[in-house]
Amino acid sequence: MNAPSTLAMHQSPAAVGQLHRRIYSIARSTPTGTVGLAIISVFALLALLAPWITQFDPVRPFPNSVLTGPGAQFLLGTDGNGMDVLSRTIYGARYAFGIAVPVLLFGLIVGVPIGLYAGYRGGWVDEITLRVMDAIRVFPSIILALAIVSATGQSLANVVLVIGMLDVPVFARLVRAEVLALRAGGFVEAAVNAGNPTWRILFVHLLPNCIRGAMAQMPIRMAWAVRVSATLAFIGVGIQVPTPEWGAMIRQGADYMISGEWWVSIVPGVALVTLIIGFSMLGDGLEELLDPRRQKGSR
């Protein structure tokens, strides 16, 4: 008779005492998420500290040491231009995050308000929004990104914008679904009844309660952004050598695979795959944590 609604089952921010114990218990309850977070943290640190921890300038060629294998001087070898692979790979993390984070922000800042408003208004506003979002999602993303970036120019900003736009429908739909669920329970009505103007209903009441679903998606979208941008660079669109971006590096190294100089592609490739796995694991972990069913026992 008194079962709290799905709304109330979202854990409320109770007193924050014993922070360490909470963190420890959260970590223990999702090993996947913890490992993912660790991986991402390592890469983030690498990206941040790149200028100080790399041995060589990533774009400085050593013409005498072109395509040397991993060894004492160049820990992971050099590429076709004689540039140190390890340094380039570490700097590549900057590009990975430098794309993933802005893309995510774009997707959130544009997608979430759209989802909020569409869910709140309902009616034809909602219908049209839904169709537009669906149209964007239905497009094979790589093809779309390819077309747009080729047409508008191969700059970092363009890549971010295009990939970010592809994220918008994902967040919009997620948030809209949560808004609809809340509306069904009378949540919006109660806010209207109290006299809230629309903007307050959207951002003070709905937003904090709808962001949960979006949160678990964030690392996954970041993983996707990293992958797509690398793919674009790999096919020759977007960023190119000598910029130390993993996709571009893999592209360059593809030519040398057959002749045996495997490290030029494999090293950035491993970095790419590892980071993506890290994001995915974090996403899984967040999904586990935020699953409303898990909250039942703790009330």
């Binding site: 008194n2 009378g186 949540f187 109660a190 209207v192 009844n193 109290a194 809230n196």
Partner: protein, 348 residues
Amino acid sequence: MTKAPAPALELHDIVKHFPGPRRGTVVHAVNNVSLTVQAGETVALVGESGSGKTTLGRLALRLEQPSSGRIMLAGEDITTLSQRRLRLQRPHMQMVFQDPWATLNPRMRIRTILEEPLKLHTRDNASQRLERIHAIANQVRLGGQLLERFPAQLSGGQLQRVALARALMTHPKLVVLDEPTSSLDLSVRAEILELLISLREQSQVSLLFITHDLGTVRLIAKRIVVLYLGAVVESGPTEEIFQSPAHPYTRALFSAQLSTDVRQRRERQILQGEIPSPVNLPPGCTFAGRCPMALPACQTRLPVLQAHQHREVACLRLPEIVAARSAGLYVDGVATGQVKRNASETLT
């Protein structure tokens, strides 16, 4: 000589249609309902599912737009006010919803929830607001320490009191309560009812109490309006109607109430069939299909509310019911299905 205060709420000929589940169908949720709540009065709106009582409550506060009719709040016509103008009226008309779990923001502390109406509608400063919060919290017997908690940490009864407190923050003239005790445990219901009564005495606020539970009605409402499939079938003073309900539906409704007094195990007047869907309303009286007293005329002629003593009843056979009552043919205050015109003749 001072003028009597305007009625807190007046609904004139309210009609509400919704588009139906299939194309071209219409759900007739409310069919020409008029009702008035005087200042300081408590009126109970009673009915089962499909009666339109919840819709009517929301229409009264314009949380829903009527298809036609007029809504007057304390003498002001609010039927066609713009959203912005309507927001200015919100402090005067408030709602307590049925499910406090779904209608209070779980991410806000109780104090913030209570403060919001004041921030939205008044120019009070922070300490004035706090004072008001404490005053109301006291009135609804909500302990001060609960103010800093979040909704998930309170019980159902406490939450409902928060909802009530929030509604009272801005000294509203009218508070609509939609099944406020239905989701609460038995022992908590009594508390809330007592609370409502004491609040009413203290502040002269008018209450529109929507419920399907007749037991609570008798305790709290001076007048009762009985709805069936979107139309008023009977309305009048609670005590009178409880003593001798006139409309056949009201009688069946009362008969179906289960008393905890074991000695009152009586034969129940069991209505046949179910409540029909409000999509295909039959012409004539909506109750004719299940009425134990229906005549062929009832299927085609729409009954109009007729006055009888202090109440109004919408039944074609009202004159006979009245006659039967004065002839003393009502048993235990609850009429039987048969009405004898005279000792030898029986109308069914």
